[in-house]
């Protein structure tokens, strides 16, 4: 429990009041490491993360200013600001492939709690590095204490991220160091922690118990398989964690929205891992229009455009509403949606466009030569080329069609395919 109503109100934006849990996505990598693809495509990825249902997103102050639209609205994710900067990913010894490797470990406070509050943040996140040197840890503690004082003054929650790094940190003592540093962070003034998993439920339970504040487990480096990442989440939750802060496992995922959605299902207790990954029956379906229900509101077109490109409008929609006007009769409207006839895939000589294992169209961008044959093959004219010449087509929102979700009239439904002609990409 925190002593400040400001902190309580803001924590309630991060942690779901119904279950006290949170799914947060860290998207602050461009602030501290090389501009990898997940940094370059941040706007698109954040759009996906929002649609996936994340409770909060961690970004730098600059990103918050540029992409504040993702945080508008009562049901949007809470904004978490990274209030410090460090160069650990660029340290020469650990990663010589960096553009500009660093020699000495540095960490600086870069925003104040008040700065974060003024841009609408629900919390700030800062690092606490332990193990590198006694002096460096003392600097970390002092900075954290300064933030804690500021946060108390303005009623902003402080999330501290203890990280055990440096030569004295070994496989033998790392768990013990993390457990101690979690508690130390609480003593300084953390309202929640973001911390690596200790790799077993028992020790992580000890960490959570002794920390005394909500603990969010971080994902670390990208897992090879989504199941690995989900199992980490599952174990952490069993140990008493209050949720996750996942970065690269989401932002580097092939399907960020799907990944966030899956994590949400797990964290908020809606599904087990097996239920989440058992996609066969769930996702092998196709869209079917129910013209009688269509009011012509065109919400589906807007949603389709926004869910794929984070843009507002209808130009890039992968479905359309067709209106029919007859003299002296009310006009009628009907959704024209992809029936998964697979003619586009059949027309693709390169084999770039296929029905994937999960039952929806997928594009191998390496193989695609932008010939446009798929566009010509679509009998409903629902496939078109984007500015790069790549085909744009209905991908069933990778298994979770947003048009269905948003059409309250149920003018579009998902029907199961019987005897599906499935291809493996």
């Amino acid at each position: 429990m925190t002593g400040s109503s400001g902190k309580t109100a803001r924590l309630n934006r991060i942690f779901d009041p119904n279950d006290g849990r949170a799914v947060c996505v860290a998207a602050d990598h461009g602030w501290m490491s090389d501009p990898t693809p997940n940094v370059l495509e941040l706007r698109r990825i954040l759009g996906q993360v929002v649609l996936g249902g994340a409770d909060a997103i961690l970004v730098s102050y600059g990103t918050a200013l540029r992409m504040g639209n993702f945080f508008h609205g009562k049901n949007s994710p809470a904004l978490l600001i990274r209030a410090d900067w460090m160069n650990m990913p660029r340290l020469g010894g650990s990663n010589v492939s960096n553009i500009l490797p660093a020699v000495n470990f540095k960490k600086k406070a870069t925003s104040t709690a008040k700065d974060a509050l003024l841009v609408g943040a629900s919390a700030i996140t800062i690092y606490y590095f332990v193990g590198y040197s006694d002096e460096f840890e003392a600097i970390n503690i002092e900075q954290a204490a300064t933030f804690a004082i500021e946060c108390r003054k303005v009623g902003l929650p402080l999330i501290i991220e203890p990280m055990a790094v440096g030569a004295p940190v070994t496989g033998v003592n790392v768990t013990e160091i993390l457990i101690a540093s979690a508690r130390i962070a609480t003593e300084i003034g953390a309202d929640a922690l973001k911390i690596p998993y200790t790799n077993d439920v028992r020790s992580f339970k000890k960490l959570v118990d002794e920390a005394g504040v909500p603990v969010l487990v971080l994902g670390g480096a990208k897992s090879d398989e989504p199941r690995d990442a989900l199992e980490l989440v599952d174990e952490a939750l069993r140990a008493g964690a209050s949720g996750v802060v996942f970065g690269r496992n989401v932002t580097k995922a092939r399907n960020p929205r799907g990944m966030v959605s899956d994590i949400c299902s797990l964290v908020h207790g809606r599904k087990t891992i097996d239920q989440i990954l058992d996609t066969g029956a769930k996702k092998q379906g196709r869209l079917r229009p129910v013209a009688a229900n269509c009011t012509g509101c065109q919400m589906c077109e807007f949603v389709c455009t926004h869910s794929h490109s984070s843009e507002y409008g209808q130009d890039k929609s992968r479905l359309r509403i067709e209106f029919k006007y007859k003299p002296n009769e009310p006009h009628t409207s009907k959704p024209i949606v992809c029936p998964l006839c697979e003619k586009c895939a059949e027309a693709c000589k390169e084999g770039a466009l296929t029905i994937g294992t999960e039952g929806y169209l997928v594009l191998d961008r390496e193989r695609c030569n932008a010939c446009g044959d798929c566009v010509d093959a679509c009998p409903l004219h629902l496939v078109f080329l984007d500015e790069d010449g790549m085909p744009v087509f209905c991908d069933l929102c990778e298994g979770d069609p947003q048009c269905i979700l948003w059409c309250k009239q149920r003018a579009i439904v998902l029907t199961e395919i019987k005897g599906s002609k499935q291809h493996v990409s």
């Binding site: 429990m1 002593g3 108390r152 002794e210």
Partner: protein
């Protein structure tokens, strides 16, 4: 006008104004070495202890999160530790300190915001001139701030550095006492020392002096400390591990305030 009225009121939260005695509990070593036996769940510890002690020293984060469990007329007054050090990280800790550091965790204004009845600062002795001089400067500045804010400043004297030997231990406590009174402390916490040192400091000190004990002292020992001029006793988290702690602590409180 008595400019110290605020200090006096706050001081009386944890030093009984009727008998000028005090019994405190220090739960702050956890900021350096993590949870210790008896402090794993701080709310449970506070519920167990808040009716026994006159005051409980907490780190800022814990005080903020558990403010409802301390303070008021029936519960122990909260005192806040305003600094952090790795000096307690010995070889048994998973990451022993190679060089000792000390930094601020809070300040007078923050301590008041947290509802603390006093700020508690650490004065480390025996770690060399650099640390000592910085420590003296930071306590002095804090004393000036606490004076302006009418917040009592308690200084915890810790002669635990490598330069402390059996020969200079008692002298170091006297040195620390002198320095910290000169710096502007309103009360002192001393480590256990021999009775002669206790008596000397008891006569000499013009501020309340409270003795730090790792375990609940016997009634005879406690009586000797009080007779030597000590104002009271600070028990550390180590005392929580002793079987029958609550009963022993309650008996000690009766003795102190009889």
């Amino acid at each position: 006008m008595n400019i110290n009225v605020g200090k006096n009121i706050r001081m009386s939260d944890f030093i009984d104004s009727k008998d000028n005695r005090s019994m405190l509990l220090d739960l702050t070593v956890t900021s350096s070495i993590g949870a210790q036996p008896g402090t794993e769940h701080i709310s449970e510890t506070l519920k167990q202890c808040n009716a026994i002690f006159d005051g409980i020293i907490l780190n800022p984060g814990q005080l903020e999160h558990h403010a409802t469990l301390v303070g008021g007329k029936l519960r122990a007054a909260p005192l806040v530790r305003v600094d952090w050090t790795n000096a307690y990280r010995d070889k048994e800790f998973c990451l022993p300190a190679a060089s000792v550091t000390r930094v601020s965790l809070s300040d007078g204004e923050d301590a008041l915001t947290l509802g603390a009845s006093a700020a508690v600062a650490t004065f480390l002795l025996g770690f060399g001139e650099d640390l000592e001089s910085e420590n003296i400067q930071s306590v002095s500045l804090l004393a000036r701030e606490c004076y302006r804010l009418s917040l009592p400043l308690v200084v915890d004297i810790r002669p635990i550095g490598g330069n402390i030997t059996a020969d200079n231990y008692e002298g170091s406590i006297k040195l620390g006492t002198s320095f910290m009174m000169e710096a502007g402390a309103d009360a002192l916490i001393l480590p256990e020392c021999d009775l002669d040192t206790c008596r000397l400091i008891g006569m000499w000190a013009t501020v309340p002096v409270i003795m730090r004990c790792d375990e609940v002292p016997t009634s005879e020992k406690a009586q000797r400390m009080l007779e030597a001029g000590m104002t009271g006793i600070v028990l550390t988290e180590k005392s929580l591990r002793v079987p029958g702690f609550e009963g022993k602590a309650t008996a000690l409180k009766s003795l102190l305030h009889q």
